[in-house]
Symmetry: C2
Subunit: 396 residues, 2 copies
């Protein structure tokens, strides 16, 4: 065979979360979907806010009825970008205009466009362990190296000393993800202030900017009034990668953006490189109808109260049973220490009871599982006794 | 600056067709859109068939109302793929099932997934001159080399002798595009039969398959009963890259597919490599709502009669004025020999009269212009006198 072996491996092995998801779909056909306790994938369980489908209907009945499906500018429709920039100025005091936004086919496309736009031979990108599995896949694609820096054990906040040691003259950037998948942690302002100081010092030392690539699909998915700091306010060389997948419950539609703020040095050059990378990867423009959905719905969220209920039930339930968990401030993930060193073995035991969990091995951190609690609360209630059985088996 | 220079160049220079398109939009604000005779971009001018928006409305009002926006399997929704496979079997006698289809974010994503999935270090891909500008951009991205093989002058049919000479042990594949952008030519069955024979012979000689990557966004955009041969029937190692952009007039929505037919040797391995490449490039799944549009509308077209009218007016008008043109059997492009060796200079003269044409230099063939006649017929009528003025200036 003369195909690309690396791509074949990526296609044949797939993402383990996707594998479990597919297994769950097949299992549902046998035992019924209500009996598969699938906590494996971050597929939002609450419907989109009514405004999503209302916007689609309004666009299809309005003056854009036919033209909405046409090509837009590669960076996205100008009016849509103006609306989004105004929303970011209003909501976060962001200093940006439409010319700093590049609409993308979701956050994955945003990340790839940033990484491919920045990466040069010999470069390194830092990821914070545990990290979203696909970061490494995307970085690998650019030819750059992935450098794993662990978060602080226990809190999963950034370990600035470890970062200080890991950054060198090859460091092109750091992927940050707050609220964090899989830990649910929101990095506090103090951490970000210190991070900004560190990156400014290191950029000066190596006479080259170190870019912060801030992956923010969970920005609005937070609990009990937690505020997510606006990261470009803490460090000027920040690229924001955003997706409407999670807040609006439309991950299948693939709509997001990159913000290259004007605070960044040579921001126009970086913006061009991001757009050039998007072009090189075959991203012609972000899906046009959903560009308008984004413009109409920016800042809105689906009803997140189910996630809040689920978080409380799971966090209190599992800690009460003796599991060790990190209390998530945001996202719909709960990270739990597996009751045996081999988290995959624990997942297999759970799977035998139709409880589907994701081991965090593929997040670069063995020994934990991720519970994606974007499910009906009924499933949480059904899952708790299964967790209790497992706790008893393990003698927690 | 420490960004990737290649990506910066791609982003800063942009596609010249896109540049002209942007220029036309700005010019329209000054002189009014009805006075900009923009023939630069292949943006369909006729509205989508009613079934497109009807399908969207039906999906949003039906049982899929909320779940349609969720992630699908990476290769696309299983029922959608089953519907598309059935349509291909019915329409073309294609031997395929849902497991041979991989839905993509348009044809560009389909091409990138194929190219990245196949390319190994040292590989070459052949393109037929003139060729769609972005083929080279996509091939460059994989690290492979682009080998340009001219079509036959005059007819722009494949030059099989030139292909025979160009194919060597590094040849991984050939990108074919029929109906062809920019020439409008549809390769006849005899040519494809001879091409299949040639590729089988060469594959055997080098003991490695040579893949045909058939880029078919214009498959249904043909005139006066012209039939487009189904290419996998002529050569088994064909990957079909399809897009609904042109036939359904929805290029902004980004929906298409790759077909890896079971006739291909090791088709499952190739399919995995294509999917792995899509994953590596950040393509999570094709936009989910429009997957359903594709399933409902496969084989339908927008009303193409305007294109037919335009083609006849332009072809007859321009040849009557002394221009040298290739009569297109399909697509909405007409290729015209520029009346001076420097086609860009000719385009600038036309642009000074608000007539926007694309020089084919970026298609790898100097000396021609491409007229994208996907416009209101009124604009064709306005353009003809401008073409006449230019013909007179040049003394045709």
């Amino acid at each position: 065979m003369s195909i690309n072996r690396h791509m074949y491996q990526l296609g044949a092995k797939r993402n383990i979360m996707r594998e479990i998801f597919e297994y769950g779909k097949k299992r549902a056909e046998i035992v019924g979907p209500e009996n598969v306790l699938d906590f494996s994938l971050g597929n939002p369980s609450v419907p989109p806010p009514a405004k999503v489908n209302d916007t689609i209907r309004a666009v299809l009945s309005g003056p854009l009825s036919d033209s909405v499906h046409a090509y837009t500018s590669a960076q996205g429709d100008a009016e849509v970008r103006a609306a989004l920039a105004a929303s970011l100025r209003r909501r976060f005091g962001a200093k940006c205009g439409p010319e700093h936004l590049y609409l993308t086919v979701g956050a994955a496309a945003a990340l790839c466009s940033c990484l491919f736009g920045l990466a040069c031979p010999g470069d390194e990108f830092i990821v914070i362990v545990p990290y979203f599995t696909e970061y490494k896949v995307f970085i690998d694609g650019t030819g750059a190296a992935t450098v794993e820096v662990p978060a602080k054990e226990g809190t999963f906040d950034l370990d600035l000393e470890a970062l200080d040691q890991a950054i060198n003259r090859h460091t092109k950037g750091i992927i940050l993800n707050s609220p964090n998948n899989p830990s649910g942690v929101v990095y506090p302002a103090e951490t970000l202030t210190a991070l900004g100081d560190l990156l400014r010092r290191k950029s000066a030392q190596f006479a080259d900017p170190i870019y912060l690539i801030s992956d923010e699909p969970y920005r609005e998915v937070v609990y009990e009034g937690v505020t997510v700091p606006w990261i470009p306010a803490y460090y000027e060389n920040t690229l924001v990668c955003y997706s409407y997948s999670k807040c609006l419950s439309l991950p299948g539609e693939r709509i997001g953006y990159v913000l290259v703020p004007p605070s960044m040095e040579d921001h126009q050059t970086v913006y061009a490189a991001v757009g050039g990378a998007g072009r090189s990867l075959g991203y012609i423009n972000a899906p046009s109808l959903f560009q308008h959905v984004a413009a109409a719905c920016d800042g809105e969220t689906a009803d997140l109260s189910v996630y809040q209920t689920n978080r409380n039930l799971l966090y209190e339930g599992l800690t009460g049973m003796g599991y060790t968990c990190v209390r998530p401030d945001g996202t719909f993930y709960l990270m739990v220490k597996a009751p045996e060193p081999d988290a995959e073995a624990f997942c297999r035991r759970a799977m035998a009871r139709d409880l589907l969990l994701a081991p965090t091995d593929t997040f670069g951190l063995p020994g934990y599982v991720r519970i994606a609690f974007c499910v009906d609360t009924e499933k949480v209630r059904k899952a708790l006794p299964v967790f209790r059985e497992l706790a008893e088996e393990y003698g927690l």
